[in-house]
Symmetry: C2
């Protein structure tokens, strides 16, 4: 039951390289879908400074024919407080893009702007799905053989066990759409110290999940199990989830730096690099952060995708494609179905 036409609202003024990266990324996503599925229709509502945007979009006929530019007077700054951004949301490109989802003019919104503001405005404007008390940030991480879904990546520094149970349900639906798995394996992040295996919050959440037949709950995992690909979905509170994803990014970056240094350290190594170059490039594509760009603010009445603030056009295109896939496959409908299934067995 895929939708054959999806409208994505773009906050063209958010992120370090706005609006040019947004426009170029939107065009790349458009080309990718033209190739993948010529019958599928992708359209944009582009919010921001209309003079600036018109000049950029006019240069790209294909994009122009698929887009409507909507002028916004202001934008959310990277250091705006969420409360400030919320008060002014009606006049900012971010706020207006989110509002277009609420008004059902767009299926999804993509922004590279301030995460706190995006979450605050989305929560107030779209409200949480029935049965979900707090939205989470969900994204993909690389493993040796496939991608893995992880949440919460930083929206909720502190969680109750009911939040973690809801994260598991939302992660399950997200993995079904983004990994194409029928019964994603769900693990809960814990620590390896035999002294104290976790805290009461995760213990009681795990207890609830163990008893759900409709979920494929694996149990506790440790952080080094994530990259091994032991599970398809990693459930964590927003503090440890954020530490996990940032530590993965930092360590991958460190490995690349060490590799670069090694290849520059001798003449033999330099020649070796030239010979292995194309193999290395395609291998490292599997952990290239750009292909993991696009985290969903999940648990809201609408698809809200956060692109990295420093995203380039390839990365931004990936965020747009994430928004399209989630909309096409009715992610929120899947979540609501699972919750009602679970509610027949328990009180969430």
């Amino acid at each position: 039951m895929n939708n054959k036409r999806i409208v994505v609202a773009l906050d063209a003024m958010g992120g370090d390289y706005a609006p040019s990266v947004v426009i170029d990324g939107a065009y790349i996503a458009l080309l990718n879908y033209k190739k993948k599925d010529p019958n599928f229709l992708l359209e944009y509502l582009i919010f921001g400074d209309s003079d600036l945007l018109t000049a950029l979009v006019d240069k790209i006929p294909l994009l122009k024919s698929s887009s409507t530019i909507v002028h916004s007077e202001h934008k959310v700054a990277a250091d705006d407080r969420p409360s400030y951004a919320l008060r002014n949301s009606k006049k900012t490109s971010m706020g207006m893009a989110i509002e277009s989802v609420k008004q059902q003019q767009a299926h999804a919104v993509v922004s590279s702007g301030n995460t706190g503001a995006l979450m605050a405005i989305s929560k107030v404007s779209l409200r949480t799905l029935s049965g979900i008390s707090r939205p989470a940030i969900v994204g993909l991480l690389p493993t040796i053989n496939h991608k893995v879904v992880a949440l919460d990546l930083g929206a909720n520094a502190e969680c109750e066990s009911s939040n973690l149970v809801q994260f598991a349900i939302m992660g399950d639906a997200f993995a079904k759409v983004m990994l194409g798995k029928d019964k994603p394996i769900i693990g809960m992040l814990n620590i390896g110290s035999e002294d104290i295996k976790g805290n009461d919050v995760i213990k009681s959440a795990a207890q609830v999940l163990l008893n759900q037949e409709c979920l494929n709950f694996y149990g506790f995992i440790e952080a080094d199990d994530i990259t091994k690909g032991v599970v398809d979905v990693v459930v964590a509170d927003g503090f440890s989830g954020n530490v996990a994803i940032k530590m993965a990014e930092g360590t991958a970056h460190l490995c690349r730096k060490i590799l670069e240094r090694a290849f520059k350290s001798s003449v033999f190594a330099k020649i070796g690099y030239l010979l292995a170059k194309s193999s290395l490039k395609s291998a490292f594509k599997s952990i290239d952060g750009r292909y993991y760009n696009g985290a969903m603010l999940i648990g809201l009445n609408g698809v809200v995708v956060k692109s990295h603030g420093g995203a380039d056009k390839v990365a931004f295109a990936n965020a747009v494609e994430t928004a399209v896939e989630l909309s096409k496959h009715n992610i929120n409908h899947k979540i609501i179905q699972e919750i009602s299934l679970l509610q027949q067995h328990m009180s969430l």
Copy 2:
């Protein structure tokens, strides 16, 4: 004020490859110190099955002349509960090795055994240092240019702000000894979501640390700042600290796997590997986990070093050398001094 003779107690029956790895590792550490400092005297008390140990030690004259074997009837199993290990500690190699530190027969103890048991027995036998309410696990992580100290790596899943302040003091002393820094830069692990920057516990701990002139407190850092080497000491609760170190291990392992696959993917890549091999090996030594083996259970009246359960002989030797350095430089004396300095300014 370095000690010229250090006695290390070895739990020879702990870890996946005990006792042979313990014996071989102890010998490597002995050789390393002979080379580094011929005037320094390293001696061992080796606890475990005396028949087995005598047979192994007798084959290595240098080790034999530096060691005393002490028979223990039992050992702590990898899956023993801490409470069980504690009750039987008088008869186990781990318990007896720790007791020898308490009785001042040894300066330090090294074990690859069950972490929970090691922590429980050490806490009861050695007790915490005056001014420290809870011991932590502290270790080293790689960055692009140097090593960084991180704690707590998993002893305390939940912490109060006073614990985090004490971890900062202990981390400072550890960095002075192990990194040789005069004024180590201390950072507190936090998350990057602008929505909620951390929780009350870390906020109030940071407030206390900001006001201490004797500590070089940097403020909050995010997990990807760790590998960038922004600070020398990372302070975290045991849950997020454990997630950080295991995620780093997992990601480094993933990068190596991807690299191996790339070098096998074509004939050119294979030849490239052969040319770059020696440069790659020496570069990757800087993130080889074996050279980071040896985490201290810090905050106790005695030096207790935990080696990885799966450590090989090189890794175990590194854990022994960590124990020696910490003992030589009177790590616990440094901690006590710092605490009394801070206590003049505040109530911890």
